[in-house]
């Protein structure tokens, strides 16, 4: 859904390039992503035909109808991001900080009940838990984690001591092992 909306917006405005915050340390197929990632017509990503990327030289040239996805933070890690936010005092979305929130447990994930758009399944009853999000993605496909981390240093502390990866809360990654690659081929960020 997110992918189609993105493609429609890129087509409508005819953008040459779209910047994204994807990092190589997030997921296996992203580990092979370029910083200037070429997309053929219709936003198709062909991992086998990626342009070699050497030194600090980026090839941003393209023909009409083709586009670029640009990932300047490719080589940052999850820790680098949080450290930068901490050092530069960058405001963050409150959902990253732990608070009492209504959630339901679904397929082993804690899904937040924000408003009436969230349809409850049979037998699902919202309960109040102290949760936060390690990653914010599609709604309602991103799961929350139970946490007491309600300050930035506490988030970083929690992340450093974590035993699961940040994308663990993303249903999109779990459909099967190659599912991110398939999504990316179709135009997902």
């Amino acid at each position: 859904m997110k992918t189609d909306a993105l493609k429609q917006a890129l087509d409508k405005h005819g953008f040459d390039a779209a910047f994204g915050g994807a990092r190589r340390d997030e997921e296996k197929s992203r580990a092979k992503e370029r910083i200037f990632s070429f997309r053929a017509a219709k936003h198709v990503w062909d991992p086998k035909r990626q342009r070699p990327e050497l030194w600090r030289l980026y090839n941003a040239r393209k023909n009409k109808g083709e586009t670029m996805r640009v990932f300047p933070l490719s080589n940052w890690t999850e820790l680098d991001i949080w450290q930068y936010i901490y050092l530069e005092d960058i405001p963050i979305v409150p959902l990253y900080l732990a608070a009492e929130r209504p959630v339901v447990e679904r397929n082993g994930m804690l899904i937040m009940v924000d408003d009436e758009r969230m349809r409850l399944g049979a037998g699902e009853k919202p309960m109040c838990r102290k949760v936060r999000f390690r990653t914010l993605g599609c709604y309602p496909l991103s799961g929350a984690v139970e946490s007491d981390a309600d300050t930035l240093p506490a988030i970083i502390q929690e992340m450093l001591l974590a035993t699961t990866s940040e994308r663990q809360g993303r249903a999109i990654d779990h459909e099967s092992s190659g599912s991110m690659e398939r999504k990316k081929r179709e135009g997902y960020f």
Binding site: D25, A31, P52, L54, R56, L57, N59, K62, L160, E181
Partner: protein, 636 residues
């Protein structure tokens, strides 16, 4: 990691402060299919606690599904990220992995050992400071080991770790390790590898990765992690002469004009003199800015600087230290690595990107190819995918440069195909060719305009392209007759005729076709300079070369005339009986049969020979020339 966890729990702020000062080491791992490279990387990630529980669970599930390691975890599956790689059990593309220890952060470029090895390894190694070269203890130094070492030294990696893996399979025998090391040193001396550190290890079991191997007490050196943490990477960049390629002229309003870029080498202080290349103008640094003003900036920082004087600076220029400036030239000797399925043809124009500058370049000569396996020098007329050669390059304008050995950023370039825009190759500049510095253009007093005006015309080149038998020569001949009758000064360069003289030494391979067009383009240019209307009648099957010919002429001087006739039509006409011979296999590389014809996408004049007779076609071309003002009024 235990100490770190304690610190994180006790005092997260001082932990973050320590993190901030951690250095970064970028390295590459090379080895062939069965050397255990992926196992090694998986092991490094695992031991540095970079594999999380959910990733480990996915890995265990995948390992069982693939079954390559029985019931054990197959670490290779962690690294091979693409479906095709997992299905075929091979690594196709460079993958970047991240891990950190208490002392350093690491980025590992993992490159495949076989298919596309040169392209991928050069790509991964271009940003690396160190290479880990894996050798299977049972097999010793192999052809691949030499190949990987040569490529690593070519791209400028000075630190090599010879990781002798699978020591558990040779009974942890010291003699085996020593013999491999001696073999390797002998080879490494030949290619000039600077620093070699050899470590015996078992990636599968974990010996000498983080902890010393209990069974190898004879080995006194560091474990792999200890070495990676401690190895000194010469901080050359900050000590080298100042270089900043100009990325952008930052001009938010009339009162501010800043020059933005990433400092690639050296340092710069307020008040220091700088030299702008290629113009050679000098000025003084007034301000150095990031968010606030700095008094000094060093290599690795992206800054905006302002100059004391109003001098001309634009994107692509190079700002240098005036006492040690970069060189300027338009011809170079360089090592070229070809990375595309379509071969490199000398004479074909490519875009060359170096720093923030993009120019047009052609390879003027291939001196020799270098076999990556034997290091032998071989003669070559073109370069195929993954081949490496020493070449001379010729550019359409001067650029500022350093030798690659002195600065990777100002000495390394990529080549881009002008039609597909793919990155097709990369190169390392060695030095400027002296002939570029010593031959100057001789200015003459009578110029092209005056020569053409004397003939009451404008110079131009009509470039007839199309399949053999389409009618190019017939129509060109009629056009010339009509122009001649009008008192114009013309000349026809005909493909067949030129091959009897000037181009007698050329055949019909792709390489020769490119050279054929290059020479004819140059001759047409001289004739246009003489003030003539030049009619060129050549099949000229490739877009790239027609574009090259156009680029030789002045704007508005070149007219591509597409003499359009379908293959079925010309094959029926077959005036010289050539199509018949080509179909019988008696002529090789015949355009339209076994050699491609790339039709013009936007010809200046399009002649549809299925609708127009040769007479009508010639008339319409003459009319176009009149309309365009090439013929200044009638002379009777």
């Amino acid at each position: 990691m235990a100490d770190a966890s304690e610190l994180i729990q006790r005092d997260i702020e001082s932990y973050l402060d320590a993190q901030q000062r951690k250095g970064l080491l970028r390295f590459i791992t090379c080895g062939s299919v069965d050397d255990g490279k992926s196992t090694l990387i998986g092991r490094l990630l695992f031991e540095s606690k970079m594999i999380f529980e959910d990733q480990l669970a996915a890995l265990e599930a995948d390992s069982k599904k693939m079954g390559t390691q029985g019931q054990n975890i197959d670490f290779a599956l962690l690294v091979d990220g693409l479906s095709a790689e997992r299905e075929q059990g091979i690594t196709i593309d460079v993958a970047y992995r991240f891990f950190a220890t208490d002392k350093r952060k690491f980025i590992v470029a993992d490159t495949p050992g076989h298919e596309q090895y040169t392209r991928n390894m050069i790509t991964g190694a271009s940003t690396a400071d160190l290479a880990v070269i894996l050798v299977d203890a049972r097999k010793g130094v192999l052809t691949q080991t030499r190949r990987h070492s040569y490529l690593a030294s070519l791209i400028g990696i000075r630190e090599i770790v010879l990781a002798v893996n699978k020591m558990d399979l040779v009974g942890y025998d010291q003699a085996v390790f020593e013999r491999i090391l001696a073999d390797y040193r002998e080879f490494a001396a030949r290619i000039g590898v600077a620093n070699i550190t050899a470590i015996p290890l078992s990636a599968l079991i974990g010996d000498n990765i983080t902890e010393p191997g209990a069974a190898m007490r004879w080995y006194q050196g560091p474990t792999l992690i200890q070495h990676l943490e401690a190895v000194e990477i010469a901080e050359q960049a900050a000590a080298a002469p100042f270089r900043m390629p100009v990325q952008w002229i930052n001009r938010p309003h009339l009162d501010f004009r800043g020059i933005s870029g990433l400092i690639s080498a050296g340092r710069i202080r307020q008040g220091e003199r700088v030299k702008i290349l290629p113009s050679g103008k000098e000025s003084t640094v007034a301000r150095i800015l990031i968010e606030e003003d700095l008094t000094e900036a060093v290599a690795g920082q992206s800054v905006t600087i302002t100059l004391a004087d109003e001098i001309d600076v634009s994107r692509g220029d190079l700002i240098c230290a005036p006492d040690a400036p970069a060189g300027i030239a338009d011809q170079f000797e360089a090592t070229l690595v070809w990375m595309n399925e379509a071969a490199m043809l000398p004479g074909r124009p490519y875009l060359l990107k170096i720093g923030a500058q993009t120019v047009i370049a052609t390879v003027s000569a291939i001196k020799y190819k270098i076999s990556v396996n034997t290091l032998e020098h071989l003669a070559a007329r073109s370069l195929e995918l993954n081949e490496i050669a020493l070449c001379n390059l010729s550019l359409n304008q001067q650029i500022a440069f350093d030798a690659y050995a002195a600065n990777r950023d100002t000495g390394g370039f990529i080549l881009i195909d002008r039609i597909t825009n793919e990155t097709v190759g990369c190169g390392l500049i060695h030095f400027a060719l002296r002939r570029a510095q010593n031959i100057h253009w001789q200015a003459v007093d009578i110029d092209k305009g005056s020569r053409a005006a004397q003939k009451s015309q404008k110079s131009c080149v009509l470039w007839f392209t199309g399949l053999s038998g389409a009618g190019k020569s017939t129509i060109a001949n009629l056009v010339e007759k009509k122009l001649f009758a009008m008192g114009r000064h013309t000349y026809i360069l005909d493909g067949d005729n030129v091959r009897h003289g000037l181009n007698r030494d050329l055949g019909f391979t792709d390489v020769d076709r490119v050279e054929n067009i290059r020479r004819v383009g140059e001759v047409a240019k001289l004739m246009a300079d003489a003030g003539l209307i030049v009619l060129v009648s050549f099949i000229s099957p490739f877009r790239a070369e027609r574009r090259m010919a156009r680029a030789l002429m002045e704007e508005g001087e070149f007219f591509e005339v597409y003499v359009d006739a379908p293959l079925t039509v010309v094959e029926t006409r077959d005036p010289k009986g050539l199509y018949k011979k080509a179909r019988l296999g008696e002529i090789k590389n015949f355009t339209g049969i076994d050699s491609p014809y790339e039709p013009p996408e936007t010809p200046d004049i399009h002649i549809d020979t299925t609708r127009l007779s040769a007479e009508q076609a010639a008339d319409s071309i003459v009319q176009r020339l009149e309309d365009l003002g090439i013929l200044w009024g009638r002379i009777v």
